[in-house]
Symmetry: C2
């Protein structure tokens, strides 16, 4: 591999770039981004070596697509149109069914590997890129059987170097599971932020009274609407299901409180404490 093209040089694309540059400085990393100031920033941060355009993609050994999922769905077919028969194209979107569907009949479907590296922060843009972001994180690969074996192997080599653990899953199962463990967390945090901001008109009060607990629970409410609106749109059915169950659990909790059933609340919380053991080691 000599030429890697990163489409979208933000948190994910930039972090992948950092890892690759560190591990193999001989590779030339080309950046493509609709926002030219991001490209300039990415060059000055040494995330990419040079700017490029979609027309250059025929030179790519590897293309990493790390843009919002709606843009991926739209652009992926023409990205595949532009690459050579030997190129590998990887996406990193937080939804998989719509993206896989967008290229299911593409003549170069075998050049594409659908992945979702479960890593990130609440920040975005080139400055948010972090070295080692993917170490010990899970990378979900979907529809591996549709990717050429040789290209799949090339991807695994890179993921291994980045320290990722691989899990294979079909796109529908991915979208259903991830709605619970990721998408719902974001809505929960956004709505917590909204509820507090609406109530506490005096921002000094929020600042003074909020402890690290609130800061942690609301952290994801800092996330980019550009990134997250299309995720909710593409995963609409699953996300609505998670919201139904979350709202129903909150309503039950409220009803326990109204009925002074604090023993039930205690037992509920004690059972949920089990999340400690499940999460041990994630942090």
């Amino acid at each position: 591999m000599k030429h890697i093209y990163i489409i979208g040089v933000g948190l994910i694309g930039g972090s992948i770039s950092k890892d690759i540059k560190k591990l193999n400085p001989e590779i030339t990393i080309h950046g493509i981004d609709k926002n030219d100031s991001h490209l300039e920033e990415a060059i000055s941060l040494n995330l990419i070596d040079e700017k490029a355009t979609f027309e250059d993609l025929y030179k790519a050994d590897l293309v990493i697509v790390s843009i919002p999922v709606d843009a991926t769905e739209i652009l992926l077919p023409s990205i595949l149109d532009n690459v050579s028969d030997d190129a590998l194209v990887i996406d990193s979107g937080s939804t998989k069914a719509s993206i896989c569907k967008a290229v299911e009949n593409h003549p170069k479907r075998r050049n594409f590997l659908a992945t979702h590296p479960i890593a990130g922060t609440e920040f975005s843009g080139p400055k948010a890129a972090i070295e080692g972001l993917f170490e010990n994180k899970t990378n979900i690969i979907c529809e591996v059987e549709k990717t050429a074996f040789k290209l799949h192997e090339r991807a695994l080599t890179i993921f291994k170097i980045m320290g990722m653990n691989i899990r294979y899953m079909n796109p529908e199962a991915h979208d259903k599971h991830i709605a619970y463990v990721s998408h719902l967390s974001h809505i929960s945090a956004f709505m917590l932020g909204k509820t507090v901001i609406e109530k506490e008109k005096n921002e000094r009060d929020i600042f003074d009274l909020a402890g690290s607990g609130f800061a942690s629970t609301v952290r994801l409410a800092k996330s980019s609407p550009n990134m997250w609106t299309p995720i909710f749109k593409q995963n609409k059915t699953n996300v609505i299901e998670t919201l139904d169950e979350y709202i129903s659990n909150l309503t039950k909790f409220k009803e326990y409180m109204e009925a002074d059933k604090f023993d039930d609340i205690f037992n509920d919380m004690e059972n949920i404490n089990h999340i400690k053991d499940i999460l041990n080691g994630i942090a």
Copy 2:
């Protein structure tokens, strides 16, 4: 000050003890706890110098009450009964109205200072105690006018040494504000944990798929039910109000999704992003 008694040598009591021991090693710290193994642990961790009982409280210059709020409400009157006229008694509970009410007519009301240091972690017990936990954190003091001036001054000296910022508030305002910025966060996290655990019967799936985002949003679901059930009980009316508004915001979000109003979702999230600026510096 020579003799400090800490009632409840867990996360809060133990952390206060660590700070005091560091800043003034000549003070003797006595521990009282209904759980004798906590006392033994606190001694071996050097959080306290010796075990004590309620009968010893007449020797105290300062008593710190750091036990669940229901126990504080019940025990505070007899703690005040037992201390000398010159002793200062401080609580650290996450609710203030019920606790202040429990001693409003106590002959030694002037010996009591109602406080809520906004600091903590999701862990509990002596092992959870941390040095410097209170540095740069807010300490809310309620009904300061009911505490003897001299004793209030003694408290401020300690809080200053611990690095805390003071805010004065009446108990009702405290309970109303804190329901939003603290109590609701806990319920939001607990119910998120519940929703995910109920759905993902295969715990390996939660572990593999959960990123740092889920871990952060659900973190408070590790909190102690012994501590939190009485808080919800004492602050019932306010907490129910926050739940009503949180559920209503979640329901509106869901309705936007069902109606494909993704522009409204985008705008909502963009406004909520403002929490970034408000929280800056809390972390």
